[in-house]
C-alpha cells in the first residue's frame, strides 16, 4: 500500500489534468439539435482536416435542452445550432447571444419500414386512413420536449384543413390521449398538458421524449409509422411518405396557412406553426470565437450546403436576423 500510494496520487493528478493526448488541441464545443447529428459529424471531419489544431466536440440533444445547457447550466459552448431558429432569440437574447443565422430546412414525413402494416398501400392521399386503422400503431415525440413532437401535431391538424376531414386529429391523437386542438377565430390551438398527463393509449400511440428515440421503436417493430424529420428518416434508410407542402412545414410560401396552428407547451411557451428552419449562433461567452466563426462559415458555405442536401436537410439561403450584430468574418454571407 505504501508503495502504491505515490502511484495512486500520480494517477489522480493526471486525471485532474485532463486527457493528455488532446491537452494541446483547441476544443471547439458545438452543441446542436439531435436531428443535426449526421451532417454535423461530416462537418466536424471536414473542419478538423482543415484545422488539425482543433478538436471539434459535438454534443447532441433536443434543441431546447441544448440551449438550456448554455443558459441554465452555464456550460461554455462555441457554437449552438437549433432545429427551430426562433428558439435562439427566444431563449438566448440578449444575455447569451444577439444574432441567428438560418441555414437549412427540413420537413415532417411519415416514416416506415417494409414490414410496417399496409406499407405497400400508404401514400400522400391515404396516410391518415391507414393510421386510423385499428391494428396500426404509430409514434411521435413528446411535444413538450421536442419541436419534432409539436410539429407532428401541427401537421396532423393541418391535414384536417387540407384534406377537409375534421376528424383526422381526433381519430389519430385526441381519442388516444389528452391532446386536443380547440378552434378559436379560425385558429387552432393545442394546449399541452404536463407530460405526465398526456396519458397516451399505448396500444395505439408510442410517445418518446426525443424524435430519435422513436427509431428503435420502429426498428424493434413496436410501431408501424412515425412522424419524423425527412432528414432523420433518410439517414436511417427508412422509407417515408412525403406530405403535401401545404401541411409538412417545409415551404415558406405557405407560412400564412401554417400560422393558423398554435401549440401552447406545458411550460407556457407558445409556438405557432412555421416552416422548419434551422438556426445557428455563437454564444457571447464562447471561449474560441475565432474558430467558432470559421465553423459557422463552413456550415453556410457551398460545401456545407452540399452536406445538408445529401443528408436530407435542404439548405436555405443563409439569412441573419440582426446582420449588424454578426462578427466581422461572417458579415459577407
Amino acid at each position: 500500500m505504501e508503495k502504491l500510494l505515490p502511484i495512486i496520487i500520480c494517477l489522480v493528478i493526471s486525471c485532474c489534468m485532463g486527457d493528455v493526448q488532446t491537452a494541446e488541441k483547441v476544443k471547439l464545443k458545438v452543441l446542436h439539435a439531435g436531428s443535426l447529428t449526421e451532417p454535423m459529424k461530416e462537418l466536424e471531419k471536414i473542419f478538423e482536416e482543415r484545422n488539425p489544431e482543433v478538436d471539434v466536440q459535438l454534443e447532441a440533444a433536443g434543441s431546447a435542452k441544448t440551449i438550456r445547457k448554455v443558459t441554465e447550466l452555464d456550460r461554455e459552448a462555441d457554437v449552438v445550432a437549433s432545429a427551430d431558429y426562433s428558439l435562439i432569440p427566444h431563449m438566448m437574447y440578449p444575455k447569451y447571444a444577439n444574432w441567428t443565422i438560418r441555414f437549412a430546412s427540413n420537413q415532417i414525413v411519415i416514416a416506415y419500414l417494409d414490414d410496417s402494416k399496409y406499407s405497400n398501400e400508404i401514400n400522400q392521399d391515404n396516410w391518415y386512413e391507414i393510421l386510423r386503422r385499428g391494428d396500426v400503431k404509430f409514434g411521435f415525440s413528446n411535444p413538450n420536449d421536442d419541436p419534432c413532437g409539436y410539429r407532428s401535431q401541427m401537421v396532423i391538424q393541418l391535414a384536417e384543413l387540407y384534406y377537409n376531414d375534421s376528424s383526422i386529429y381526433d381519430d389519430l391523437v385526441a381519442s388516444n390521449s389528452n391532446l386536443k386542438f380547440v378552434e378559436k377565430d379560425g385558429n387552432y390551438i393545442l394546449e399541452m398538458p404536463e407530460s405526465e398527463n398526456i396519458n397516451p393509449n399505448t396500444e395505439k400511440l408510442m410517445i418518446r421524449s426525443m424524435e430519435v428515440e422513436l427509431i428503435y421503436g420502429i426498428e424493434e417493430g413496436e410501431i408501424d409509422y412515425y412522424f419524423i424529420y425527412r432528414s432523420v428518416a433518410k439517414q436511417h434508410n427508412h422509407k417515408f411518405v412525403e406530405l403535401p407542402d401545404e401541411i409538412d412545414l417545409s415551404n415558406e410560401s405557405f407560412s400564412d396557412k401554417y400560422s393558423k396552428i398554435k401549440v401552447i407547451l406545458a411550460n407556457g411557451k407558445e409556438v405557432s406553426a412555421k416552416p422548419i428552419i434551422y438556426g445557428i449562433t455563437i454564444p457571447k461567452n464562447a471561449p474560441n470565437k475565432e474558430y467558432a466563426e470559421k465553423f459557422v462559415k463552413l456550415v453556410v458555405s457551398k460545401e456545407g450546403r452540399e452536406v445538408f442536401e445529401k443528408l436530407g436537410q435542404p439548405p436555405v439561403k443563409a439569412f441573419a436576423d440582426f446582420p449588424e450584430n454578426l462578427p466581422e468574418s461572417l458579415k459577407d454571407i
Partner: protein, 258 residues
C-alpha cells in the same frame, strides 16, 4: 502523519463529494420555497412518485422471490459454472443502462422472444417498467442476500435437520430468520435502486411516466427550476422510506439482544 489521519482525510473527501451535490440541490431550492410548496401540492407529481415506488416494490418482490433461492444456492453449494453464474448476476451493474433498456426491448418488445408470445404487454406499460427495474436492481438484492447466507454457520441448519426438520422447514425456520436483516437490507437497496432508475426504463416505457422520467422531462421543457422541486420531493420520499425501514431494522436488533 498517522494512518488514521490519512484515512479520515481521504474518507471525508468522498463523503463530501457525495453530500455536496445533494446539499446544493437543497440549498438552491431555498431561494424558491414557493416552487417547492407548489410541487408538494401537485397531485400529479405525487401520483407519479407513488406509482414509481409501487413499480419498484413489484420489482423488489420479484427480486426477493427469484433472487433468494439463487443467492442461497450461490452461498451454500459448489457446482460447475458457479463463477459464470456469479458473473451473470453482476452483469447488469456493468452494462450501461441505456444498452440494458435496448436489450430488454429486444426480448420483451412486440417482436421479441418473450414479448411476441406474452399475453402481457411490456412496452409502454407497467410490466415493462418492472422488468427494467428488476434488471438493474436485482444484483443489489442477490449479492446482499448471498452475503447474509454466507455469514451464517451451516451448523445451525445441520442441527435443525437432526432435530427432524426437512430442508424446506430449516430454510424457513432457521436460515431466513437468521438472515432476514440481510434480506431486508438487500431488498431495500434494490428498491431504492429501482426507484432511481432512468436509462433502461425510458427506453422500454416512456409511459406510464416514472419519477426519474418526469424529472428529466421537466428539465427538458421547463428547465432546472421546474425539475428541482420534484427531485427534492423524490429524494425526501425515498430517504424517509429508507430511514424508516432502517430504524425498524435497528430497533429490531436492539430488542432481540436485550
Amino acid at each position: 502523519m498517522k494512518l488514521s489521519t490519512i484515512f479520515a482525510l481521504l474518507s471525508s473527501i468522498l463523503v463530501l463529494f457525495v453530500i455536496l451535490p445533494v446539499f446544493s440541490t437543497f440549498t438552491t431550492q431555498f431561494s424558491d420555497l414557493n416552487g417547492l410548496v407548489q410541487t408538494f401540492q401537485d397531485y400529479d407529481v405525487w401520483r407519479t412518485i407513488l406509482f414509481t415506488a409501487y413499480a419498484a416494490f413489484l420489482s423488489t418482490l420479484f427480486a426477493v422471490l427469484f433472487g433468494t433461492p439463487l443467492a442461497y444456492t450461490l452461498a451454500r453449494t459448489e457446482f460447475p459454472g458457479k463463477n459464470v453464474v456469479s458473473g451473470v448476476v453482476d452483469l447488469p451493474v456493468i452494462i450501461p443502462h441505456v444498452v440494458a433498456g435496448i436489450a430488454l426491448l429486444s426480448v420483451f418488445g412486440s417482436k421479441g422472444m418473450i414479448g411476441s408470445i406474452s399475453p402481457v404487454k411490456f412496452v409502454d406499460a407497467l410490466p415493462g417498467i418492472v422488468v427494467a427495474m428488476l434488471f438493474v436492481s436485482a444484483p443489489f438484492y442477490i449479492n446482499t442476500a448471498r452475503e447474509g447466507f454466507q455469514s451464517i454457520n451451516p451448523r445451525f441448519e445441520q442441527v435443525a435437520r437432526t432435530l427432524g426438520a426437512t430442508q424446506f422447514k430449516v430454510f424457513f425456520t432457521v436460515t431466513i430468520p437468521l438472515t432476514w436483516r440481510h434480506i431486508a437490507a438487500g431488498a431495500l437497496m434494490s428498491w431504492a435502486r429501482a426507484i432511481s432508475e432512468f436509462g433502461a426504463i425510458v427506453i422500454i416505457a416512456y409511459y406510464p411516466m416514472v419519477a426519474s422520467t418526469l424529472i428529466y422531462d421537466r428539465f427538458l421543457n421547463s428547465g432546472l427550476q421546474a425539475s428541482r422541486p420534484i427531485s427534492i420531493l423524490l429524494i425526501l420520499f425515498s430517504l424517509s422510506v429508507f430511514i424508516t425501514i432502517r430504524v425498524l431494522l435497528w430497533n429490531g436488533r436492539k430488542n432481540e439482544s436485550s
